[in-house]
Symmetry: C2
Subunit: 127 residues, 2 copies
Amino acid sequence: MNIGEAAEQAGLPAKTIRYYEEIGLVAPDRSENGYRDFSDTHIHKLKFLSRSRNLGFSIEDCRVLLSLYEDKNRASGEVRDVAKEHLSAIETKIAELQSMHATLSHLVHKCHGDDRPDCPILDELSA
Amino acid sequence: MNIGEAAEQAGLPAKTIRYYEEIGLVAPDRSENGYRDFSDTHIHKLKFLSRSRNLGFSIEDCRVLLSLYEDKNRASGEVRDVAKEHLSAIETKIAELQSMHATLSHLVHKCHGDDRPDCPILDELSA
DNA sequence: CCTTGACCTTCCAGTGACTGGAAGGATTAT
DNA sequence: ATAATCCTTCCAGTCACTGGAAGGTCAAGG
């Protein structure tokens, strides 16, 4: 199948699929006319990538996960380690964002937000 | 003061300060030897930028906030709008991360994580 | 048969916000 | 005098795409 249909099936932009090929995540065949030709296996892989990326895994994580997926003798512990590492990165990020949110929402509440120039938000940023 | 001390005072890497100059966020003077020369006002601005960036504002937001800061007649409502917009972006991001976290921690718990190849995480990613 | 439009190809450049490093000039300390 | 440290500019790389240009291919309609 051509890249357009592959994109639709996998839920990824065609551009992204070309990029994934370029960095060696997927290797579609080529038709005689030079068009990429995706099999169901390729689509499967692309969906795997799409789901992994949606869970926030980096491309390099995805590469590892894919290779573990294709290694029928992998230890599930290895997969778990990658996932746990990523989980704690997510936790860190959430904590950072929550801290920003707390500070900022406090400031927004303190600011009357009208036509007057007096502004606690700027006061805090410049303090 | 030279860039090294400015960096220390502002809590920003020298490289970052040069970058901020390049994109027009700060405009230090120059000494005769060609070195950048930072006044207290410049340091103040750099600290402002550092704090804003730490709250997650984009560089373009920072540019707006700085110009509002320097406009003594600004309406605090404008500042508040920028901050509120950013707050809701943070909220969106937190929600996304929490959703990823929920899915992933569920999978991690389901995976026994030992030497056997059977792995619910990969099953889910490939499902 | 020709054209139109939708598809496909490659290649190059840009995004955000830095960060690293090379090559070389200036200053300071010994 | 020399070594260490600081400063300068410029170029390239990061991450994961995304946009666009220039051009080849294919299916449908007139």
